[in-house]
Each structure stands twice: as C-alpha cells, then as structure tokens.
Amino acid sequence: MKAVIITRWLFIKRSMLSFFFWLLLPLVGALLLFAFVDVVEDDSYVPIGVIVEEETELANDLYQEMETSDFVAIRETEHDEAIRQLQQHELDSVFVIHQGYQEGIQTQQRTNLITSYQTNRSYAYTAVKEMIVSHIQEQGGRYQAVQVINQLSERYRGESLWSAEDVIQTSKQIQAEEQLIHASFQYASQAEKKDDEGSRWEIWHIWALLAILSSLLTMDWLIKEKQSFVTQRFYFTKLSWHDYLLLNGFLYFVIWLVIDLVTYVIFSVGFDETMGVVTLLSYRCMLTLLSFCVALVWKRLYVFYAVSFLMACMCGLLLPVRDMHVINWLHPMAAFLDNQITIGWLLCSAGVILFWYGRRRRENAAS
C-alpha cells in the first residue's frame, strides 16, 4: 500500500489543481448551487395583475397585503390590458377586487367579492389564490367576531359595549401573542420529529448528483494508465496490474472518504442536516466501485468522459420522478436519498469487479 501511495503521489502532484477541483466539486458545487437556488427562489416573483374597483380601507388593506407578500409582484393595470397580458402569459393570473368589497366583509356576505382570471398556463395560480383567500378569510373572520360580540353584548347588556376597532385589535393581539395551532411532519419510520423537511434534503440531492459525475471523472486515471505501453511492465512487478489498479481504486476511496467527512461536517453544521453515516459510506463505496467498473469497460478517454456525463445526466433527469416504482428500484441515488444503505448497485459493481479480477487471475495462473 505504501508503494501505491508513493506512486500515486507522483501522478497527483503534477495536477494538484485539477485533482482538488474534481474532488471538491460535489461539496463546493452543491453549496454554490444551493445558495444560488435559495437566492433566486427568494427573489422570484409571480407576476399578477390586480384591479381595485373601490377605494375603501379594507380593499386597500388587501392590496397592501398582496404587495408586501414575498412571492407575488403586482402590476396594476386596466382590466382589458391585464386580460391581454394574461393571454400572452406575461401575467400569471389576474384578480379583480369588486365594488362593494368592504361592505361584503363587514356584513358577512362573503361570496363573490373577487373575480380571478387564470389560463391553463397559470402555474402559480393556486398558491396566489390561496394567499389572497386566506387574507380575506382573516379579514372576514375578524368582522365575524365583531358581529358576534356586538350581538352578545346587545343581548346581555342591551347595547354595544365595544367598538369594532377594539375587537379587531384584540384579535390581532391574540394571534400575535398566543402560541396557536401548528402542524408538524414526520415519517412513520423516523425516530425524531422534524417540523420542516422538504427543501433541506435538496443539498444532499445536488451533492449526490455531482458526486456521481466527479467520482466518474476522477477515475479517468484508470483509462489513461490502461492505454499506456507501461502496462507491459506490470508482468514483472511486485504488484500485478490488477492489484495495482484495485489498490489505487481503494486509495481513491479513502481520499474520497476524507472529503466526504468534511462534507458531512459542513452540511450537518451549516444546514442542520441529518444523514446516516452508514448511508454515506455505502453510497461512496458504491460510487467508487461503479466508476471503477465503468472505467474498466471503456477504452477511449473521450468516450469514457461522454459516458460519465451521460450517466450523471440520466440520474439527474430521472430524479424528479424517482418515486415511480421501477425507477426507484433502478436509480443509483434512490437508496441514498431515502437515507438507506445502497445495496443493489454496490453488489452489482462489486460483482463485475470480482469477475474481472478472478478472470485475470485465472488467465495468469494458466499461462
């Protein structure tokens, strides 16, 4: 092993920059991409058209609420112009706040206060509608409370004791102060609870994808060395050719593990991310064996690179539909992303390598 480390060092020290570039690509790439998507997601707005038909406090209040929402950008236009823009898909959807909005809210006549226009390309319509409706609901609910309280005090005291402002103020205060209901989410098979899963897994998604690409591309030493005339000399060395390759593959595995450890620490500290150590270990093991296999199969460097990109590309493209049964079986990243131990691909790759190793052995012994 010492010989392997020293001889490998001779190769690596010539191309330190490239070596570290590909080694750190999954970590740095995932961090950068994640940060980028995060920023873009924050800054992305759904362009909607809003037409306000009445100048009342509540209508303005609703308009303000939409304006301050962090995911829509309002374009205030004329009705016809808005509809034209909607048809051309320059707007996602259009909302019209009708005349009589305030009165409707105050008198609990809460039907058809607003008209919404959507097309079948209004991808964000449901989310925007949900936001608007929930705000109307909030306004309406408060006035409902006002009404109920007025009725109560009429019944018990014969007069309205409190003004609408008072009641609404109290309600807002309660909503802000009290710890009200919230929903939590966890998987049945998971021990600890997590309030918000979802996006936090994504950084490992990106990482896992980049890890496939970079571990394939760093295996190119195998192709390069396989092509060289130098292979002839390995008949007369202490290490046979295939032992040399395997030990080098193992060395790369160890180097990767160190990088993975750093990745693990950064992700778990920076993103409060839980990922099983064994999961990560088995995934890395699979990646090393798999890329070793692929490098064994192909002869030309350029083709090998092309295949690597193709594989990474396929994995990436099939990621969104990973949940479909067949793909979930076949996808190399599936087990890892479900925080489970990667077994299938690991065994397959290991099998191919064992076969390759065994066959060479036999060939040599028999010659």
């Binding site: 010989a3 020293i6 001889t7 001779l10 190769f11 010539r14 060289s228 005339f229 130098v230 292979t231 002839q232 000399r233 390995f234 008949y235 007369f236 060395t237 202490k238 290490l239 040399y244 040599n364 012994a365 028999a366 010659s367």
Partner: protein, 216 residues
C-alpha cells in the same frame, strides 16, 4: 539457463514461430536476428510470459513457465520495443515509480548510477521533453532496476548514438559476465550484434539474413 523446446505460436491461421528449440547458458549474450515481421518480438513476448505459446515448453533455471510463473517473472527483465515509460514524469520519478513496484529495494543513488551507466544524464528532466534516444535509454534502465537474471531486449538501441551504444554494450557484457545474466538481444544492426553477442539466433525465412549471419 533458459531452455526452449518445440515452441510454436499461431496467430489465427498464420504460423509465426514453428517448432523452435534452443537454449541459453548463464552469462551468454545471444543476438536474435530476422527480417521485419519474422517474429522476433513475438518470441520475446513468449519468453517474457506476456503471451502464451500455442504449444511447446519453456523453462528458466529448471522452473517451468507453466507451473512457476511467479518465480519465473521475478527473474525476467524485459525491454519492450515500444517506449514504456510515463510521459509526464521526470526521469527520476520514472525510476522511483518502478523501484517502488519492484521486488527488491534499490537506493536512489543506485538508480541514479544505473541511468549514468546508460549514459542518461537528464535526471530531473521530464520525459516528454527528452529526445528519442534518451527515452530509449530510460526504457532500458527501468528494465534493469530489479536486477533480472534473464534480460530480453527488443531493439533497445534504436536511435541511440554510437558512443552511448558502445558504452551500453560494454555495460551489458560486464553484467552478463559478472552476474551470469542471460541476455537475448534483437537488433537490425549486425555490426552491433557481432560486437556484443556470443552467438546469433536466426528466425524468419529471408535468405539475406541467412547469408549475412554466415560471416559470424
């Protein structure tokens, strides 16, 4: 001592080597001569265990190529016809690389001396910037690192200047005599063969070589 009996090698239908038998004594340098495509490289590859004969047997110091492959290989030094060195490395790194993988340990000093013996003085220079002859010298030097008993040299001196050629020849002779190394040597330079070798082995059917070799 190397013993070859009834060695035959087919490539498909063509018979490259046919029922060849010969032997080499320790300390002997044998020249291998024949026209292009006569099968010299093929024979050396058979003797170097790189390819397998169709039939026939080879034995080195009584060790059969069939049964004691590992022990046989430890004793063989093979200089391929193609230059088999790492292009991106310096001379020094190439020597260290193969020393690390060799059966026996050699100090850096010894490696350096070995290159000096081959008249190769560009110790720190990258192989890709070496001249053709220098690469040949390195190719030869690497094969000598593990001090083999049987040296199989496939046109080791092509493109090497005359002075170096003579000095390398002297070095090989010295080795053969002092350490009882057997050397099988192919070259198209009959003068060199004559100067260096104790004996000539002729393969192929070209009458030209048959006549030329008669002079020895």
């Amino acid at each position: 001592m190397l013993q070859v009996e009834h060695l035959t090698k087919h490539f498909g239908q063509t018979n490259i080597i046919d029922q060849l038998s010969f032997s080499i004594e320790p300390g002997e340098i044998v020249g291998l001569v024949g026209e292009n495509g006569a099968g010299k490289s093929t024979l050396l590859q058979l003797l170097a265990t790189i390819s397998k004969p169709t039939s026939g047997s080879i034995a080195l110091h009584g060790l059969s190529y069939q049964n004691d492959l590992k022990k046989v290989r430890k004793q063989i030094g093979f200089v391929p016809q193609d230059i088999a060195v790492w292009d991106t490395f310096t001379v020094e790194e190439n020597m260290i690389f193969f020393e690390k993988l060799a059966w026996n340990h050699r100090s850096k000093e010894e490696l350096h001396n070995l290159c000096q013996d081959m008249n190769l003085f560009q110790w720190k220079q990258r192989v890709s910037t070496l001249s053709g002859g220098m690469k040949r010298k390195l190719n030869l030097a690497i094969s000598l690192i593990h001090q083999p008993n049987l040296l199989l040299l496939d046109e080791p001196t092509v493109g090497i200047d005359l002075k170096s050629r003579i000095e390398i020849g002297q070095y090989l002779r010295r080795r053969a005599k002092e350490e009882q190394t057997m050397i099988l040597y192919t070259s198209h330079d009959l003068d060199e063969i004559q100067r260096l070798c104790d004996r000539v082995l002729l393969i192929g059917n070209d009458p030209f070589y048959r006549d030329s070799v008669k002079f020895f």
